[in-house]
Symmetry: C2
Subunit: 196 residues, 2 copies
Amino acid sequence: MRWKQPDSHHHWKELERRVVAKTPIFTLSAAKRRDGEEKEAEFVLIEAPEWVTIIPVIEKPDGSRDFLMVRQFRHGSGELTVEFPAGAADSGEDPADAAARELLEETGCRAAELICIGSVNPNPAFMTNHTHTFVALGLEHVAEQKLDIHERVEFAPISESEVFDKMGTGVYSNGVMLIALAYYQRWKKGKNPVHS
Amino acid sequence: MRWKQPDSHHHWKELERRVVAKTPIFTLSAAKRRDGEEKEAEFVLIEAPEWVTIIPVIEKPDGSRDFLMVRQFRHGSGELTVEFPAGAADSGEDPADAAARELLEETGCRAAELICIGSVNPNPAFMTNHTHTFVALGLEHVAEQKLDIHERVEFAPISESEVFDKMGTGVYSNGVMLIALAYYQRWKKGKNPVHS
């Protein structure tokens, strides 16, 4: 047997949860929990909406591909990044709808096909949400950008090979995009869409 | 030219920063910033220590490989996960030292070689830190596990092919590990170690 301990050895049961701070993008909470040995402790949680990342694929006449990438200032790192279009679902919004909306807002494009190729918790140590990755095929430019008041997003096509080689280095400095790329590479190999 | 706007169009300058809440694993802050058009706004930041993930490689007599994986309860998702060993650097601790320490604490192993194969901000929208991925080669079991009071971590070897196929699905439900795996797959193809 791979694991010696039963699942119950690991589990903590939640006794109560309190809000520590609310912010525009997540709520910081503290959960009091008890383990099987009646030990109690408090754990920090970030309750965020579901996140979505969209990989917009442009098939070129020569058979190669570009991705539609976005450039913007990121306040956590204080740097300009190049990323796939991405955002957070509104309250009650389905991740697929959020993906279509974010793609439209950031690039003005609609996709003929939007396929979920993977979902995972960005860091289950303290995050409660998932980041969902979508591939967008059959792009059509239908509108102007529609950005939030503090957003400035530029978009441009960049070759698949550049994104494959550079994601996770230099200006391609968003780890969530490396998650998206890992799902894309698996999906491209012909594996079925995966959901956790 | 790929991007039409100069970098200065995107940048925000920080005016002040205040602590909203301190927790054992990060500090929640709010930064007041001003853009080039003299617009001001407040942005949420999570100031966390550097994170490290270690991919412990076991070369088998038949030429195939296992990874030493850990199983534990994660409080953000409230689920048991299977992951690479990982943790956070202590204050002032070098990421490479943190990686060696976390590997030793969680598995009792020392590595003859510990190679940084990539570093990226886990989410530059609000995180200020980086997650650093290390490959650990030449493992030797030298000690018992040494866990924090609320940690229960089991470790076991799992085949490289299972981890390649399943990471980001089912119990392999930590996005940070998909980042680590993406760096590993690039490193294995013979590309140089990359640092952002």
